[in-house]
């Protein structure tokens, strides 16, 4: 998977903003966006969570959830062995059922990218073609508190090691201080660092860390800012801060993506991450995507789940559908 080009992204941003993306212009634009009706948003999200899903739809949804998962391990204790077992699970989620789809990507720290690429071997590639890509978190994940040079070096190293997707964190401190131009420039610079030697570019996911942005208004502004700066995906959270992904926040980000698509015809992806542990929750997200931006967004290059324990729950539900009786944790791997 390759990201959009930097030049095209900048031209789009200039056209929408009507000026250079400095603090003043961005402030005028972002603060001109109408505020979020918080009660309405939460009510809408709650409503989307109550849809009745019949058995045949559920079977489809479970398989689709698996093919949209970024199987993640982001621990200080990650070892090469842990990454290799993660890759093995990504390729064959349920050893008892070869028909289970593969996940979209594995998501690891930058220094584990080469291990993941090596372990994937021939299975490494574009998830839209049924292969598995490698995503790396970069830019001083999860806090984002480092100088720009370090963030760019972090990114370039992961791309050089073979990462297809970069999950960057925005500088929440700068965003909350109103330094929108700085955040914009950093995202654009990281986007530039995603370029490979052959001219293609790794896809860029921009993590907003919505749990630290406090208000829905901020989430909406950060979403617009990230998309304007050239992010290919906007992602809710690192998973290291509570609250992480919630349905209302994801709905809000999907609405921004929908509005951006209407405005420019350009499609941006959304990735809720952190705290989605059950199939039931994940299905609510599928419903929300389908009802907000449309079913065509339910493909790996436009929607992902950042998750680790979700996969096991989905596998248990698949086993239940196949066998007719409830399964248990002894029948899936220990992560």
């Amino acid at each position: 998977m390759t990201g959009t080009t930097l030049v095209a992204a900048r031209e789009r941003a200039l056209a929408v903003l009507g000026g250079d993306p400095d603090d003043a212009t961005l402030r005028r634009y972002l603060h001109g966006i109408p505020g979020v009706d918080a009660v309405g948003l939460e009510q809408r999200a709650a409503g989307l969570g109550t849809r009745s899903i019949k058995t045949s739809s559920k079977a489809w949804a479970l398989d689709r959830i698996i093919s949209l998962i970024d199987l993640t391990t982001l621990e200080g204790a990650d070892t090469p062995g842990k990454v290799r077992s993660l890759v093995a699970k990504a390729q064959t989620p349920d050893p008892a059922d070869p028909g289970a789809p593969r996940v979209a990507a594995v998501c690891v720290y930058g220094d584990m990218v080469s291990t993941a690429v090596e372990a994937l071997g021939a299975a490494h590639g574009d998830p839209d073609d049924g292969a598995i890509s490698v995503a790396a978190v970069a830019t001083a994940f999860p806090s984002g508190r480092a100088s720009l040079d370090i963030k760019l070096a972090d990114t370039a190293e992961a791309v050089a090691a073979g990462a297809d997707e970069i999950d960057m964190v925005i500088d929440r401190g700068a965003f909350l201080a109103g330094r929108y131009g700085l955040v914009f420039d950093q995202i654009a610079a990281v986007k530039a660092a995603c370029r490979r030697a052959d001219g293609t570019s790794a896809s860029l996911k921009v993590i907003l860390e919505t749990g630290e942005l406090v208000t829905y208004d901020n989430v909406r502004r950060a979403s617009w800012l990230s998309i304007l700066a050239g992010g290919d995906f906007i992602k809710t959270s690192t998973g290291k801060v509570q609250p992480a992904a919630t349905l209302p926040v994801t709905l809000l980000m999907l609405e921004v993506v929908r509005d951006w698509h209407r405005l420019t015809g350009h499609k941006v992806g959304v990735k809720p991450a952190g705290g989605i542990r059950t199939s039931k929750d994940a299905i609510k997200y599928l419903v929300t995507v389908a009802e907000t931006v449309g079913e065509e967004w339910l493909v790996p290059h436009l929607f992902r789940f950042g998750a680790s324990s979700l996969l096991n729950d989905v596998l248990l539900q698949r086993q239940k559908l196949a066998s007719g009786h409830y399964s248990g944790a002894d029948y899936v791997t220990i992560d």
Binding site: G324, H325, Y326, S327, G328, A329, D330, Y331
Partner: protein, 286 residues
């Protein structure tokens, strides 16, 4: 002016909480003479699934508690039952249509069994375990360990005593329990759950479902996360099918018992829901 009665809503007991059935269903519980007593929740397979999840989450803590501590917790249940004796006697009298004396005798017997089983908590391992003689310079020790989640179909012809006789022994070793109460006499089971909720038993260690055992038991028997199945009260069901379903996932199964001395207190009821762990250890490290 007469005062309006305030009838109690009998709900399920899952994970330390008292939810209504996920299905929203209830059924009428009648007294021995056919009069209306209460509406009880009619548990569905999804309630059973939730109960197993709650029980699984509670196993590690309960099995990990010291045997002495488990004994103390179980003994305290008996203490609290004693305090609520009048309530249970009245409930049993009404539901089973027996005399006050007979109901009182049933409650006393139930309390005595809690005490009897509580006493075994820090003693049964000495009796059921063993130091095995081996031909080498090793200690070889066998110790009973809890099997995990035990699903129980409680005796159907008893309000309190049958339930206690089935649940208490499974708890002694450190198992967590999902019990389907008597379909005809479910009210004492929920009152017992109120006792458990206010005693020191951790959440999820005991989960009580009311409703139709014929409907719920097959789901528990085939559930891959249930380790053992006590069919003591399943004599009227197609229990052979339940045993076959349980065999698919290698569960321990206790077969139905009938008659007055069904589920009588024995050490075997405790040991039946344990696995034997055998360890080798060198005798000398010189």
């Amino acid at each position: 002016m007469s005062r309006l009665t305030v009838p109690k809503t009998y709900k399920l007991f899952i994970g330390g909480a008292f939810p209504r059935s996920e299905s929203g269903r209830t059924y009428e519980v009648t007294s021995a003479s056919g009069g209306f007593l209460a509406n009880a929740a009619k548990a569905s397979r999804k309630d059973a699934r939730d109960a197993v999840v709650a029980a699984r989450g509670a196993v590690a803590g309960w099995a990990g508690a010291t045997a002495y501590n488990r004994g103390q917790v179980l003994y305290r249940i008996a203490e609290l039952l004693e305090g609520r004796r009048a309530q249970f006697v009245a409930e049993i009298e009404e539901a089973e249509g027996v005399s006050r004396a007979a109901a009182g005798a049933q409650v006393d017997e139930a309390i005595d069994r809690w005490v009897w089983y509580a006493g075994w908590a820090d003693k049964f391992a000495q009796v059921a375990g063993n130091a095995n003689p081996v031909a080498g310079p090793y200690f070889n020790l066998s110790v009973p360990e809890p099997t995990g989640v035990v699903a129980i179909v409680a005796p159907q012809d008893s309000s309190l005593l049958g339930l206690v006789s089935a649940v208490a022994p499974a708890l002694v070793a450190g198992n967590a329990v999902v019990v389907v109460a008597s379909e005809r006499f479910p009210l004492s089971a929920i009152s017992l759950a109120e006792v458990l909720a206010t005693s020191d038993v951790p959440k999820g260690v005991v989960n009580v479902l009311t409703g139709s055992p014929a409907e719920i038991a097959p789901w528990l028997a085939s559930h891959a996360d249930v380790n053992a199945l006590d069919l003591v009260g399943a004599g009227a069901l197609d229990w052979i099918e339940l045993e076959i379903a349980a065999a698919d996932t290698l569960k321990r199964v206790h077969r139905p018992e009938q008659g007055a001395d069904a589920a009588a207190p024995t050490l075997e009821r405790i040991v039946g829901f344990t696995e034997t762990k055998t360890v080798w250890h060198t005798k000398s490290l010189r």
